[in-house]
């Protein structure tokens, strides 16, 4: 597949007679990153799949008004983060559960999920990540798994680089402590 830059894709979307084709290219370019980001937050494949599709449907609807100030990649990650966190919030509200119980459910689903095949250490890391507060979890995942620069994270989460660095270090230390205990 030909790899287009974000600017080229946006130009194709807004100027071509077939915006659907340009959008399809955008989906193909970002589908995996968006999916994995969501998956690490909601854990279950089916939930992640639904949310990831919803992210692109929202993007399709909003793309004609997208001005490109924040960059396509940042924008999609922002929608994905919001959708995933909003899913967890709804889950908590629907069952009147405290946050810890939702995290416990997610942690339990690692044991039963047919699409989780991690080693013991990988499972331990995932469970440790689930003990973190939601936003710290987002920060940790973006840095550790998505290998994202603080600069990019800052644009997605609208938080200063210093605060993100502190949050990531704090989260990493907590996880290391759980791993070595």
């Amino acid at each position: 597949m030909v790899h287009y830059s974000d600017d080229e894709l946006l130009q194709r979307f807004s100027q071509s007679d077939n915006p659907g084709y340009a959008f399809d290219l955008i989906v193909r370019k970002y589908q995996e990153q968006v999916y994995w980001h969501i998956r690490r937050l909601v854990i279950v494949h089916e939930d992640a799949s639904d949310i990831a599709q919803e992210v692109f449907i929202k993007a399709w609807k909003a793309l004609p008004e997208f001005r490109g100030d924040s960059g396509l990649f940042t924008w999609l990650y922002r929608i994905a983060t919001n959708e995933a966190l909003s899913f967890l919030k709804k889950k908590r509200k629907r069952f009147f559960l405290p946050m810890e119980d939702v995290e416990q459910q997610l942690s339990d689903s690692l044991e039963t999920d047919a699409w989780f095949d991690g080693s013991d250490i990988e499972k331990k890391i995932q469970k440790a990540i689930l003990t973190l507060p939601e936003k710290q979890r987002v920060v940790f995942n973006l840095r550790y798994y998505d290998e994202m620069k603080y600069e990019d994270m800052s644009r997605i989460l609208d938080t200063s680089e210093g605060a993100l660095k502190a949050s990531y270090h704090h989260a990493a230390k907590k996880i290391e402590k759980i791993l070595t205990s």
Binding site: A52, I175, E176
Partner: protein, 174 residues
């Protein structure tokens, strides 16, 4: 996305977090069904197409729900006003509302009507739920009888519920 694996590993090592640093090379353990990403963009496209086709139908259902809600609310208002009217009249005869003179009575009625109409508009605007099954299953005969009753009742009390119906869609009577 920029790959910063070395930088991130170094950062963890500097923090003395060797377990996490060594694990950086590994995957997270999550998997997806085979070929999942091959069909992903098609699934998204199908959902977008489906939501596009669904839009007019949703509007049609929404209209009928709006009409039904407005009629139901009008009906309740009319019943309520009828009961109030009867109670006030009885009360007057029995001395229950002896301090009510005609002017106060008229004012009360005028205000109540205005308020109820505002309430109805709010109800209609705020309604964003799917049409309940029982409304969908209402037959056109039931609908006509119901509408006739409403129009008669409205005429009797000098109200115009038809205004509401006109504003919420093109009812067949208009």
């Amino acid at each position: 996305m920029t790959k910063n694996k070395d930088e991130i590993t170094r950062e963890l090592q500097e923090l003395g977090l060797s377990r996490l640093a060594s694990q950086m090379k590994e995957e997270s353990g999550f998997g997806v069904p085979q070929g999942y990403f091959d069909g992903f963009s098609t699934s998204v496209r199908q959902k977008i197409d489906a939501s596009r086709q669904k839009e007019p139908a949703t509007k049609a259902r929404f209209f009928s729900l709006r009409a039904a809600v407005s009629m139901a609310a009008t009906f309740l208002v009319l019943i309520g006003m009828g009961i109030s009217f009867l109670l006030l009249r009885e009360g007057k005869e029995e001395g229950l509302f002896s301090d009510f003179d005609d002017q106060i009575f008229e004012e009360y009625f005028a205000r109540a009507t205005e308020y109820d109409r505002a309430l109805l508009y709010d109800l209609i605007i705020d309604t964003e739920v799917d049409e309940p099954q029982q409304i969908q299953s209402t037959t056109s005969t039931d609908y006509d009888l119901y509408l006739d009753y409403l129009l008669e009742a409205a005429q009797y009390y000098g109200l115009e519920p038809t205004e509401l119906i006109i504003q919420n869609g093109n009812d067949k009577r208009h």
